[in-house]
């Protein structure tokens, strides 16, 4: 069902089928309503079954172009940084987490200047905090273990 082959049809097909089967099993576990009707199950089930059918169609397709994996380590690094950054916000608060994440993000994108990275570690948390948590009045995410805002507020 395509004009030109898309990459990895077998892997994609198999993934769609597995997600579809998992979602179908979960959909069938959704409680019926008080009249015993399937109301809340219908749409999840339709989406799940559609994925299984589309996955099977994918499996029938011929192999497409190979994926360029040259930059995957950098992508994986950025994904790891993203997860670590959110976790760090939850434990040491926004300011310290951003002071760590900002230079790391710049480094992944190729910035090597020590002065630049140091400036980012100071400026980024300061500017974002000022704009979002002071000017807009959003309540900042506080760290569970420690938060610099507690020290600053004293």
């Amino acid at each position: 069902m395509t004009s030109e082959s898309s990459p990895a049809p077998r892997v994609v097909g198999l993934a769609l089928i597995l997600i579809g089967i998992g979602a179908t099993i979960t959909s069938l576990g959704i409680s019926l309503d008080q009249y015993g009707r399937w109301g809340a199950r219908l749409f999840p089930l339709a989406g799940s079954l559609a994925l299984i059918v589309l996955g099977m169609l994918e499996l029938r397709r011929s192999e497409g172009p190979r994926l360029d994996r040259k930059h995957w380590p950098a992508v994986a690094g950025l994904l790891f940084l993203s997860m670590a950054y959110v976790w760090a916000i939850s434990v040491v608060g926004y300011l310290i987490a951003t002071a760590l994440a900002a230079p790391l993000a710049l480094w992944i994108f190729g910035v090597r200047s020590v002065i630049g990275l140091s400036a980012a570690a100071v400026l980024c948390p300061g500017v974002y905090h000022l704009v979002f948590f002071e000017l807009l009045g959003v309540f900042p995410p506080l760290g569970r273990w420690f938060d610099l805002l507690d020290v600053i507020a004293r």
Binding site: I30, D33, G39, L42, A50, L78, L79, I89, F109, V111
Partner: protein
């Protein structure tokens, strides 16, 4: 003629005009930066607008969408890299003109054509939208579900390279939208015992993830490439655009504006399809098609007019039926909802002044980006080449986290945004369709509600969708669109196979 009082009220409000002007500038710059789209900018700025009044918030994002569509032409003409998917058609003739030293002339043609196309689309929207809303008020749940169904099929199958992966994107969007409590029976669905998941997946973190963080992931693969302006020698004398030069473009602009406006009304098709259809149609009807692709001014005018004509009419299904016609429309739903404005046919009864004031802001925004583009496109191009992407994308990366958190003040949303960002990158790599995923996510709750309401109304179960003529018509439109798309792709594949042989 509600638009005239609305225009007067907008013109009399300098703060609102300031927001529109800022949106025109931001949209143009973002659209012109290769890789960044107006959708990404709107998704990232959406949480900021929660703290604004409804009209400035909507106008700001709406005009960014318009200006961003136009801004894509700057990158297409000056950098040979389309800033948006839609401006890839502009690039075909725009870049050869830049290489001939006529970049400013090409930009002027793009600007004038964009403004005419955008005005045409906006005026058609203003004239037609209240009428569509009046018709929509008469539609019942079966007809509305049939429209949703057709929208799912069209969005999933028509955009992108792969029909199966496009439809799978739509199905995944539906499944993700089902996470949380069932709105009718409050039954938990796909929550797996997680309290955070009972609130469902937020639209804002999902959008920021798919369109902003996903783009940052994609840009890390492009970080070794640099953006350079076309090196043609700019001669001011050759860049004066005369009436005699623009006159042959007018018929293409008029035709393309209507093509864009028509495609814009259909949910999910969007600017890219409009631009390429208009380019193809323009070339077919051109007096000398051999010049197209080598630097024909008409080849810039046609796609640009169509690309921008999509903007206004794509709001029609959103405002009248609550069905977003584009990703920008899907994001605007978030603004309407956060300000407690119920979109759909009753919008014209409850918030008529707001809607027409928004249209007025759209018209003023077109004039503003037109003036900025006509006199300052080259400056914007030079400005963009000075923005180091290795600094720009880390800043966008950090902004996406705080923006996702701001939407509900919840770190779980930030985890959702990260997951969506990685998924968005993977979807692009694997020819899935992120736009179909997001639009389906937005459509799913409305589709489910109307489907279940229709079944409650029905004495004959699913037959209600067949016995109601309008519902049947829309179901058939959906199926026909799928068949047509599969057949056209099959033909193209056979053509390619014969060509290779």
């Amino acid at each position: 003629m509600d638009i005239f009082p609305a225009l007067a009220s907008v013109v009399a409000d300098p703060v609102l005009l300031g927001w529109v002007l800022l949106a025109a500038i931001v949209g143009m710059i973002v659209g012109a930066i290769p890789g960044l789209t107006a959708s990404a900018a709107i998704a990232m700025l959406l949480p900021l607008t929660f703290y604004m009044e409804p009209l400035p918030a909507l106008a700001f994002l709406y005009v960014i969408g318009k200006s961003g569509r136009y801004g894509g032409s700057v990158a297409a003409i000056l950098f040979n890299t389309p800033g948006t998917a839609a401006s890839a058609a502009t690039q075909i003739d725009g870049y050869p003109l830049a290489r001939q030293g006529k970049a400013s002339k090409a930009m002027k043609v793009a600007t004038i054509s964009s403004v005419i196309g955008d005005f045409t689309g906006e005026i058609l929207l203003i004239v037609g939208v209240a009428w569509i809303a009046a018709v929509a008020l008469k539609l019942g749940p079966p007809e509305l579900f049939a429209i949703y169904f057709a929208a799912f099929i069209v969005i999933g199958s028509v955009i992108g390279k792969s029909v199966t992966r496009g439809l799978a994107s739509a199905a995944l969007g539906v499944l993700v939208a089902m996470i949380g409590l069932d709105p009718i029976s409050s039954t938990e669905r796909f929550t797996y015992g997680s309290f955070d998941l009972t609130n469902g997946i937020g639209l804002v973190p999902l959008m920021i993830g798919i369109f902003v963080l996903g783009e940052v992931f994609a840009q890390i693969e492009e970080r070794e490439k640099s953006t350079e302006m076309a090196q043609g020698r700019e001669d001011p004398a050759r860049n004066v655009l005369t009436w005699a030069e623009y006159k042959p473009c007018l018929s293409h602009v008029a035709r393309s504006s209507f093509i864009g406006a028509f495609i814009g009304m259909l949910p999910g098709l969007g600017s890219a399809i409009a631009a390429f259809v208009a380019y193809g149609e323009g070339k077919r009807r051109a007096k000398d098609p051999t010049t197209w692709g080598k630097g024909a001014l008409e080849g810039v005018a046609a796609p640009e007019a169509a690309n921008n004509a999509v903007s206004g009419p794509s709001m029609a299904p959103l405002l009248t039926l609550g069905i977003p016609g584009s990703t920008i429309g899907a994001i605007l739903i978030g603004v309407f909802l956060i300000h407690g404005i119920q979109i759909g046919p009753t919008l014209f009864l409850t918030s008529r002044d707001l809607v027409f004031a928004l249209f007025a802001c759209g018209l003023i925004g077109i004039v503003m980006y037109g003036l900025i583009g006509y006199y300052g496109a080259a400056f914007v191009g030079r400005f963009i080449t000075r923005i180091p992407t290795r600094v720009l994308y880390p800043v966008i990366f950090l902004t996406s986290f705080v923006a996702a958190y701001t939407s509900r003040g919840n770190l779980f949303d930030v985890y959702v945004m990260v997951a969506a960002g990685f998924a968005g990158w993977a979807m692009r790599k694997l020819d899935f369709n992120p736009a179909a995923f997001v639009i389906s996510f937005v459509l799913a709750s409305g589709a489910e509600e109307t489907f279940r309401q229709a079944l409650l109304l029905s004495d004959s179960g699913l037959m209600i969708f067949v016995t109601r003529p309008l519902a049947l018509l829309f179901l058939l439109i959906g199926v026909a669109a799928l068949i047509f798309r599969v057949r056209s792709l099959g033909k193209r594949a056979r053509g390619q196979a014969l060509g290779d042989a």
